[in-house]
Structure formats: C-alpha cells, structure tokens
C-alpha cells in the first residue's frame, strides 16, 4: 500500500533527496505535491516554512522509470565584443564544452535568448562561432538584447524564425518569441537604433516599457499548434521571459500571460522553461509548471516583490567570483514525459540556500526600492 501523504515526514523525504539517495518506488509523492497541499490546507507549517524546505521543486522524480532523453538549455550569455570583455566569452565557451561532454548526451540544445549584450552583429557572430562547437541540433529563441538594434534582422538571418515547434519522443516542444513585440517607444522620440537598444538593454529603465509579450498573431499560432495534441500528452514551452507575472517593472513577466495560460489550460502536463531572470525560479499556474534558468553571464537579484512562494531561492552569489551564481541546465524528459531540471551552477555544489542569511532573497527583508529617474528627464 502506498503511504499517504500526511504520514510522511517532509524533512525525512527532503533529507533523502538532499543526500542524493533516491526514495524507493513506494514513495509516490513529489515535493511539489506536498507543498501544494500544505499551502492549500493553509497549515501554519506549510505556509511558514515552505520557502525553507530543502525542496526539489525544480524537478519531478519519475520514480522507477528510465529517463527517456536529455536536452540542454543555455541562455543569457550577454556576449560583448572580445575587446570589451572576455569574461562572458569564457563562460559561454565553458558551458558549450560541458554540454558537449554530457553523458548520456543531450539530444538537442535550446538557446534561450540574450546571446548578445547590445544586439551588435559582432556579438551575435561571436556567439554563433562559439556555439558552432556544439554539433547537436540547436533551437533558438531570441532575448531582448538580441533584437532591438535591427529589430531581429541579424538574429533571424543567423538562427531562423520564431515561433517554432517540433515533436521529440512523444513530447511537443514549442519556442515562442516574447521579446519582439514591444510597443513603439522609439519613433516619436526619434531614437537611433543604438539608443533604442540602449534603453531595451537597461533592465530597470523606464523608457522601453512593458515590452515582454506574445501578441495576437503568435497566440493564434500557439492555439493551432496545440490543437489536436492529446490533453494528457506533454507540452514544453520555451520563452525568454516567464509566462506569468513576477515583477513587471523589470519585465520579469509576459504581459499577455493570462491569454497564453488560457490556451495551455486544457493540457495536464505543461512545462514552461524561461531565461531572462538569471536566477533560480519555480512557479505553478494550474497545470503549468514554470522553471527559471540561470544565466552564464551574471545573476540578477531577486525582485523586491513577486518571487513565487514555490521558489526555493538560490544561494546568495559571491560578487567576487564571476563563475558563482551562474551556469546552465541539463534537463531530462522522463518516460512519463515529466521534465526534470538540473541546474549546473559553477563554483557551487549547493544551488539552493539552506537559510535566509545565505539566500539571494534575504536582502528583500528590509528593502524598499524606487525606480530610477534620470531616464525620465530631458533629453529622453
């Protein structure tokens, strides 16, 4: 007989997972499930300590099942021309080398956007050159840093059009463009392409506005692409920005996420994997799980509000070590089509913080923040 959820001691389950021991097949519970129930029940223990359970909320264990295949995610390399800085180049090269060495190998790579820092053709070419080393199939979605110098022209020439979809071993993969549909903030102000890009590249800027979105046309495409797909079969949706509302002032969201969610709602097994936030994130909306990926370049701090309660925060990174708090992801699609995520964070064995003081969100406790002003004054 399977143990009932309420009979399990969460700390014990967590310990088994933490020490690398796999719970046996009879332990038919995932951490995620437990936490959901605890929150729903509104128990003091669940609510008060959910952030601090050593949860594996980034992955679901397909107990007793063989992994069907692996793939890798790489994003937010933010390459500068080599004469400006080689730090980000080094880290991209390292990620590529490690993904190449994956065993069992990754069937394909998803590049999740922000390859370049300022959309400079030199930067995009540099990125393409580094990625050439990887001979597995590569699928690309753009980030805002890749797009706003020439409105995606160079990007699409190099890496093809979005959106796209393909099926692999019973999983339908979808790549959306959530960065290319910003309301026009540049024409009225007669900005040069470089100025337009500069505002877009400033995460906490006031000028580029709520640029992250999927848009009508692409949502229609999405609707068509999922129609005919059985409701219980796995769907994986890749986006640069998260498919929910985390922190709009930094475009840590996709503005029409509700409409997108409506389209995906009928499906029982949906995983959204996103970049842009440069940090460990986990959220659930109905039957959709959303997992935030690390950058290779630098970690963004957690926003002052809106960190999903299901997120187990990452460690507080050491700003003196530019290999800390960054990396890429190895993902596994289990036989049941469940997506498991393994963060590879260089310089750390422990990705998740075990206490408030070591956590990347600890600074939020007494912190109140205000938007910048200089870009709202003349001549902007």
């Amino acid at each position: 007989m399977e143990p009932r959820e309420v009979d399990l001691d969460p700390r014990q389950v967590a310990m088994e997972i933490d020490t690398g021991g796999r719970p046996d097949g009879s332990l038919a519970i995932t951490r995620r499930l437990f936490i959901n129930k605890a929150i729903l029940a509104g128990t003091a223990a669940g609510v008060a300590s959910v952030g601090w359970f050593p949860v594996i909320n980034t992955l679901d264990l397909a107990f007793g099942q063989q992994a069907a295949f692996k793939f890798a995610w790489l994003s937010d390399t933010h390459l500068y021309p080599k004469d400006v800085n080689t730090r980000f180049v080094d880290k991209t090269v390292r990620a590529v080398k490690e993904i190449k060495a994956m065993s069992p190998p990754a069937d394909f790579l998803i590049f999740g956007g922000d390859l370049a820092q300022l959309g400079d053709p030199v930067e995009i070419d540099l990125g393409a050159d580094i990625l050439k080393e990887l001979t597995i199939k590569k699928h690309f979605i753009p980030g805002e840093h890749d797009w706003y110098l020439d409105m995606g022209a160079k990007w699409e020439r190099m890496f093809g059009k979005t959106p796209w979809t393909f099926d692999h071993n019973g999983v339908r993969f979808i790549g959306l463009n959530t960065v290319g549909f910003a309301p026009d903030y540049w024409s009225a102000k007669k900005m040069s392409p470089k100025e337009r890009m500069g505002h877009m590249a400033t995460l906490d800027g006031s000028v580029a506005g709520p640029w992250a979105g999927v848009g009508d046309e692409q949502r229609q495409w999405l609707q068509q692409t999922v129609s005919g797909w059985a409701k219980d079969r796995p769907l994986v949706v890749f986006t640069h920005t998260p498919l929910y509302e985390y922190y709009p002032p930094w475009n840590f969201w996709t503005r029409d996420w509700r409409e997108v969610n409506e389209i995906l709602k009928p499906f029982s097994n949906v995983t959204n994997i996103h970049g842009h936030t440069h940090q460990v994130l986990y959220n659930e909306l109905g039957s959709m799980r959303s997992i935030g990926m690390l950058a290779t370049s630098w970690p963004w701090p957690y926003a002052p509000q809106g960190v999903p309660p299901l997120t187990k925060p990452m460690i507080r990174a050491d700003p003196g070590d530019h290999f800390d708090g960054v990396g890429y992801s190895k993902l596994t699609a289990g036989a049941a089509g469940r997506i498991e995520n393994e963060y590879v964070m260089w310089g750390r064995k422990e990705v998740f913080a075990e206490s408030v003081v070591d956590s990347g969100t600890a600074d939020n406790v007494n912190q109140i923040l205000h938007p910048r002003i200089a870009d709202r004054m003349w001549p902007y």
């Binding site: 995460l203 930094w250 630098w298 007494n366 912190q367 109140i368 923040l369 205000h370 910048r372």
Partner: protein, 155 residues
C-alpha cells in the same frame, strides 16, 4: 556636457535661496542656519540640490559614459555597470552599513563597498571616497532605497 550646464544653471538660481554666504554650492556653508522660518522656495531648493545629485548618481550607476567622462572617472572596464547587478539599486542595502564585509575582511562603510565593486567585479578605477562621484553615487543609492528599514550591521 549637459550635466555641467544643468549644474551651473541650478547653482546660479539656488545661491540666493541657499544662503548669501555660500561662495559656491559646495563652498563654505552659511554660518547661520535655522534662524528664520523656512519658505517653501527654500525647501524646494534644498530638494533640488539632492535631486541633481541623485540624477548624476543614477547616470553613473547605469554606466552613462558621458557623465563618467565629464567627471574624469572610469567606474568599469568590463562593460558592466552597477545597475546590471543592482537594478533599482537593489541588494546594495545602504541601510545595512556600516558592517563587517566578508569580501574585504574588514569593517566597511557603503563608500568602501562602492569602491570594492568598482575595483573588483567592474575592474574600474577606485574613486575618491570624498569626491563628487562618490557623493552622487551615494545619493542615488540612498534615494533609491529610501523607506528601507535601518538595520545596521545586518548580513
């Protein structure tokens, strides 16, 4: 250039309000203060002095090359700006200084920390801890974090 002009114009307009004894904005302060009721114009002028510093600091914090050039400083040699790790000046926690700072293995002020970030991650050139660029950066960081709870020494 525009920063300097704005500053000069502001200086001329404010002199009267800030006190006749001031030879410049940052010259010797008037000898007397609080001897008469404050007018709204005076209070606005004080605020303007702050906001000009905040504006300058905001530009420096966001890597504005023109402002750096004007002030003859080099805050970064990596293409990275302060705001790239600290959007809205988050995680700069001015309200927690002074405190023991592990990176320096020393008891540190916010100014020490600013210079550490300039020199280490940004590979820039440290700035005068009492100079105008430091004052502007400090002004922006405090201003962006206003309302945060004073929590000296918190790690």
């Amino acid at each position: 250039m525009k920063g300097k002009l704005a500053l000069a114009a502001l200086g001329a307009g404010l002199l009267g309000l800030l006190g006749a004894g001031a030879s410049s904005l940052w010259g010797p302060a008037p000898a007397l203060a609080h001897k008469a009721k404050h007018s709204q114009e005076q209070l606005d002028a004080f605020q303007q002095v702050l906001m000009e510093q905040v504006r300058l600091g905001d530009l420096l914090f966001h890597g504005d090359a023109d402002t750096e050039k004007q002030m003859n400083i080099k805050l970064s040699n990596t293409g990275m700006a302060c705001a790239m790790c600290h959007p809205f000046a988050s995680d700069s926690h001015p309200h927690e200084f002074p405190k023991f700072q592990e990176q320096m293995n020393a008891f540190a002020t916010l100014r020490d920390m600013i210079n550490w970030c300039i020199e280490k991650p940004n590979e820039g050139v440290k700035i005068d801890p009492d100079g105008p660029a430091m004052k502007a950066l400090e002004a922006y960081i405090y201003w962006a974090n206003r309302g945060s709870k004073l929590d000296t020494g918190r790690h």
